[in-house]
């Protein structure tokens, strides 16, 4: 057993930190946040340096590392800036479905372009009527000769408005029993006829990331856009969630650490009643609680990533990691604002953004409640 990162991992952390410190400028972040702008330039640079798609195999433009190394980058980027960090690290979202289950041709066509920065990817799973429950899809894909024709809609789709392609989970057999055995995933380019994305502008956080409702109106895609076998979509997506939960957990961890960093700096700087507020025990204890939760989240995120890289699918562990890290992010960011007082409540202060960006990590990629379902069914078993 070894709790230390290896040499390469430490170097990756340092490289990610130097890049984020050099490029994620607070004033720029403030502007991007206000104007709801995706940090395209920064993402392009991050791609060029190999940060995006670090976990893709080399033959598909990646760096051949595992999701542990990806998690380290996600953590560092989000730690430096929750908004820019999240937008950049989510820019390859769902590409893993292609990587794990796609054909050679699909992998070659899409992954190198995501890693190089030419493409942004996204995943269409959530539907307006179902939320976190993906056992039945209203969106359908019907085989028609050499094509599939997709109809339906999805909501809360990360990168929906800016991605070049989306992985879309569709019902291909409405009579399958249970229904999820009749689901399939497809690669849908966003420039096809009948596809429409409507940006969800007014959301609490993640303002630099596109979140959209997407509509498929007789969208016709070639049959070879199917990923893997028909009927396997549900299983692919569940397996992908095991991986993506770790990434979102790392995002939460980074946000928590970033909020903690700023709070420590603030209380050492700010004076009240004639002394630094770091001298007050109430603040020292708050920091102790915050730091402990961050460390706890880190242990769980790293373990879940490490376990995944060992080739073990363990939804219980990844759900625990995501739940713990999400709670840490929300708790630490909340305390951060509290300790900053009025200054923490205004938009110019970074912790305000961290606070708003933290909350999503308890909601998307499975809400905290869904994580609890997964954890308990893994431990207690399924009781109905």
């Amino acid at each position: 057993m070894d709790f230390e990162l290896d040499l390469e991992q430490k170097e990756i952390v340092k490289a990610a930190r130097e890049f984020a410190e050099g490029e994620f400028d607070p004033q720029l972040a403030f502007e991007l946040e206000k104007t709801h702008t995706f940090p395209a330039d920064i993402r392009r640079k991050a791609c060029k340096l190999g940060f995006v798609g670090i976990h893709f195999p080399e033959e598909y433009g990646g760096q051949g590392y595992g999701i542990m190394e990806n998690a380290l980058i996600v953590e560092e980027f989000c730690r430096r800036d929750s908004g820019i960090g999240s937008a950049v690290v989510l820019s390859d979202f769902s590409s893993e479905v292609v990587m794990r289950f796609g054909s050679e041709a699909q992998k070659k066509a899409y992954l190198p372009k995501v890693a190089s920065g030419a493409y942004i990817s996204g995943g269409g799973y959530t539907e307006p009527d179902h939320g976190s429950d993906i056992t039945f899809m209203n969106t359908t894909a019907v085989r028609d000769g050499d094509s599939y024709v997709i109809n339906g809609s999805k909501t809360f789709i990360t990168n929906g408005g800016i991605a070049q392609f989306l992985i879309v989970l569709c019902q291909t057999d409405e009579n399958a029993s249970p229904p999820y055995r009749g689901q399939s995933t497809f690669i849908v380019p966003t420039d096809v006829d009948g596809f429409e994305a409507v940006e969800i502008e007014d959301k609490m956080g993640l303002k630099m990331t596109s979140t959209a409702e997407i509509y498929f109106n007789n969208v016709r895609i070639p049959a070879d856009a199917l990923i893997g076998e028909a009927g396997k979509g549900f299983y692919q997506v569940l397996e992908f969630f095991d991986e993506s939960r770790v990434e979102i957990a790392a995002q939460a961890l980074g946000i928590a650490q970033g909020a903690l960093d700023r709070t420590i700096a603030y209380i050492k700087d700010r004076s009240q009643f004639g002394k630094k507020i770091a001298a007050f025990q109430v603040n020292q204890h708050k920091i102790a609680d915050m730091a402990t939760r961050v460390e706890l989240a880190r242990l769980m995120v790293y373990k879940a990533a490490w376990n995944y890289d060992k080739g073990r699918i363990d939804p219980t562990l990844t759900s625990m990691a995501k739940m713990t890290a999400g709670q840490a992010a929300v708790y630490v960011a909340d305390e951060a604002i509290q300790m900053h007082g009025g200054y923490g409540y205004i938009m110019e202060n970074e912790v305000e953004r961290f606070y708003r960006d933290a909350k999503i990590t308890e909601i998307y990629e499975g809400t905290r409640e869904i994580q609890k379902n997964t954890i308990s069914s893994g431990i207690v078993g399924r009781y109905k």
């Binding site: 400028d25 607070p26 004033q27 720029l28 502007e31 700087d269 110019e348």
Partner: protein, 325 residues
């Protein structure tokens, strides 16, 4: 009796101020029966320069040779060796300048002279030489001693000692013979490039709004420009900002940039390294804004605000605009 020698620094027909600063310090260190020496290297056309320093030294030792017209450290080093073999000085002072930094360390290595650099104070006690120099970007001072040796070498920080009121002594000038001996073609002076003038001459401005590392990004320069516009001033910067090309080099204040003497100098996010201070300490009023209460800039500023410049700037710009209607 001890002898303290100062290497005269000159460029483009002028004696550099550091020379007088060192001569002043040398006199301060010298007792009544001690000797202050000036060492001059140049060509015959520069003889008139010697007249400016020789009154301030008991002895001036000069080498005139066409090969010494422009500063080239290999030739200067060789000539200096010849002078030092005649000079019998105990301690040699050179400037920690573009001139001294290009010469002193090599001379120390070549002649096995105990040496330390960039000193801001010197003490001679019982024949021992102790110097004070700064480390960790001026946050810590170090007391450094030089071991016993026939000759010891220090380079002196520009501005550490006053250049004014250097005592006058009736100095004699002695010429030392030296001729080119060795392959000096391997390094050759070609030309000077004058500082670019640029669109704005910061040395002429009455009010300077100066930005440092704390401005964080080129995108933030306009925020400082707004204040400068409101005040009717000009934006200048410290070295890191020019290094990163966020502002052109000709806007840089400091040793390697411009020396400015505005009525008001507002330092925003500038820590205040000595090289920067050297360029702006002559300002009539210095106002510093920095998050770090320990930033050296506060030791030289007249007024300070310990806060985030991005909070101070908009608030101040707003107030100034209100005032001006």
């Amino acid at each position: 009796m001890k002898k303290i020698a100062v290497l005269v620094e000159h460029r483009q027909g002028e004696i550099r101020e550091i020379t007088f600063e060192m001569l002043g310090k040398a006199h301060q260190l010298a007792g009544s029966d001690d000797e202050v020496q000036a060492l001059f290297l140049g060509d015959t056309s520069q003889k008139e320069l010697v007249a400016k320093v020789s009154p301030h030294a008991h002895t001036t030792l000069a080498v005139y040779d066409a090969a010494l017209k422009d500063f080239e450290p290999l030739r200067y080093g060789s000539a200096l060796e010849a002078v030092l073999s005649n000079a019998d000085c105990d301690l040699l002072l050179m400037g920690q300048t573009a001139f001294g930094m290009d010469l002193a360390p090599a001379l120390a290595a070549k002649m096995t002279m105990p040496f330390t650099s960039d000193v801001v104070d010197i003490e001679i006690l019982d024949g021992g030489v102790k110097a004070t120099r700064q480390m960790y970007s001026g946050k810590v001072s170090a007391a450094v001693s030089l071991k016993e040796a026939p000759k010891r070498l220090l380079t002196v920080r520009a501005g550490a000692f006053p250049a004014e009121d250097v005592p006058e002594v009736s100095g004699e000038v002695r010429e030392i013979a030296w001729s080119v001996d060795g392959d000096f073609a391997v390094r050759k002076f070609l030309s000077y490039i004058e500082a670019a003038v640029g669109d704005v001459d910061i040395t002429q401005a009455d009010v300077l709004v100066s930005v440092g590392r704390g401005i964080k990004d080129a995108d933030n320069i306009p925020v400082a420009q707004e204040l400068a516009d409101a005040l009717g001033g000009v934006v200048s910067c410290s070295r890191p900002v020019a290094d990163k090309k966020w502002l052109p080099k000709e806007r840089q204040v400091g040793t390697s940039g411009k020396t400015v003497k505005p009525r008001v100098y507002i330092a925003l996010g500038i820590s205040g390294a000595f090289q920067h201070q050297a360029g702006m300490k002559g300002a009539a009023t210095i106002i510093a804004v920095n998050k770090d209460p320990k930033a050296p800039i506060f030791s030289i500023a007249h007024f300070g605000i310990v806060d985030d410049l991005f909070k101070v700037l908009p608030a101040l710009t707003e107030k100034v605009r209100e005032l001006k209607g």
